[in-house]
Symmetry: C2
Subunit: 282 residues, 2 copies
């Protein structure tokens, strides 16, 4: 049982991790793949106080290096579901499940809009995790939507299992082309099926599939943790970064605008302190 679990490895997550570590708390840190990608892609950052005129790559390095110097461990896992067990939480990521007393959500800008049917059919043909559910689709027909190049190995793994894969790469300059996959560059509008996924709709096309894998760098907050209060896709948090669920805190872009690095590290710090205070009061 960990004191906390931090979901997300961007500036808010880094700040939260630094402060939990300094407070001697045990925690697991699920960063996902290339969690500072958004920072890295910034050309020039002029308003991170103390580091004037840094490139995104420099700031990303400085933030990661800070956590590394403190010996903080991270994993590349992506949280796919969090269950509120009443006082404790179970978070699934890949094949692993982690139990913790608190949760700090640093999800970044998350998809504000789910695909129609995604939420309803989650766990019944809709999956966020190739390694968890891939084997279920051996020899079957699937759709795989990926939002980032870093998901290509997972997508390739799925293609190797399935008989036929419809591939939806939602990022620029993709030259990804596994042998048994059909590439489609249209957005998926709808996932249909009565009890399970039966087909997807994109444009005029109806494509029969047995399942669909949606590989995003983060899961929408309200889907990740049922009952979490959100507003316009952002997690509702108070000035102490507390959400509506006791023991769950949120920090950074996922709590709303402005999307700013300084805001993110500030909120990550406050969320960690609020979690420490919560743990002391338990």
């Amino acid at each position: 049982m960990y004191d906390s679990i931090i979901i997300g490895g961007g500036p808010a997550g880094i700040s939260a991790a630094i402060n939990l570590k300094l407070n001697g708390k045990s925690f697991i840190w699920l960063c996902g793949k290339n969690s500072v990608k958004k920072v890295q892609s910034a050309e020039l950052i002029k308003n991170y106080p103390g580091l004037p005129d840094v490139t995104g790559k420099q700031l990303a390095w400085a933030l990661n290096n800070h956590a590394d110097l403190m010996g903080i461990e991270k994993t590349e896992e992506i949280a796919t579901a969090i269950y509120d067990l009443g006082g404790t939480f179970a978070t699934t990521a890949g094949d692993n499940t982690y139990e913790s007393k608190t949760v700090i959500l640093c999800l970044g800008v998350t998809p504000t809009k789910l695909i129609e049917g995604e939420d309803r059919l989650l766990g019944r043909g809709v999956s966020y995790c190739a390694t968890c559910d891939g084997f279920l689709y051996k020899g079957k027909t699937i759709a795989v939507m990926l939002t980032d190049k870093s998901f290509e190995p997972e997508a390739e793994f799925l293609c190797s299992l399935a008989e036929k894969t419809y591939l939806f790469p939602f990022y620029k300059n993709s030259d990804f082309a596994p042998s048994n996959a059909e590439i489609i560059v249209k957005p998926i509008e709808k996932i249909e099926g009565e009890k399970r996924v039966e087909r997807i709709i994109c444009g005029n096309e109806r494509i029969d599939v047995d399942g669909i894998f949606i590989l995003r760098s983060s899961v929408a907050p309200g889907v990740l943790l049922k009952g979490l209060k959100t507003d316009g896709g952002h997690i509702t948090a108070d000035r102490q970064q507390r959400t509506n669920i006791n023991g769950v805190f949120a920090a950074g872009d996922c709590t709303g605008r402005p999307y700013q690095y300084a805001k993110s590290v500030g909120e990550g710090n406050v969320a960690a302190h609020a979690a420490v205070e919560y743990l002391a009061g338990k």
Copy 2:
């Protein structure tokens, strides 16, 4: 008429200034004396993300240097009063008055408790400003309370004007001893007087004075700006750093715990963005 006035030169003020400047807003920045003193006095700071294991002096330098590199001007003035003129604000500091459309309060940790009688007799014998009101006490008897070594020149100026000065240095290792001053190391418990200051009470002593100068690095928020909502000495702010007064924003330690540099720069950033948004909507 400035777009904004920033009161306070610590981490929150620096972050606000950087962001107002980047947004092309005109502003005046009242930093007070040695506004980063609290940062400088920190031995080692381990949780300012991106600058691992910096001394307080190094962090203070890095923050100040950032603003300096951007050519942002600051003054050492201390705001003594802010008047809400209904849509605009007038801030007095020393002999100057500045008009602005918005106010960003970055006051740091402010005195949570005023001396009994301080608020009631402010402007009637209680003064926060030696250069503004000193001449009124030429040849008279005054008390001067100073919370920091940096106020010694002002206190000395007051001693040179007054016939007799009771000096209350509220800081460690003071060897300040002007010739016509009597040093008292007890706290001032009460300021008395019906229409004007008549005497101060400390311990068993009742000392008759014509006026009292209270030289603090910042004025208590509710005294600085009448009508500003506070709670336990902290300014009440929402997630956008807006206070209860339209056009007035607050950031950093003055909005409450945790007292953390990362929180301060985050809130300074958000306050500046909220002010920019407010100005756009005017």
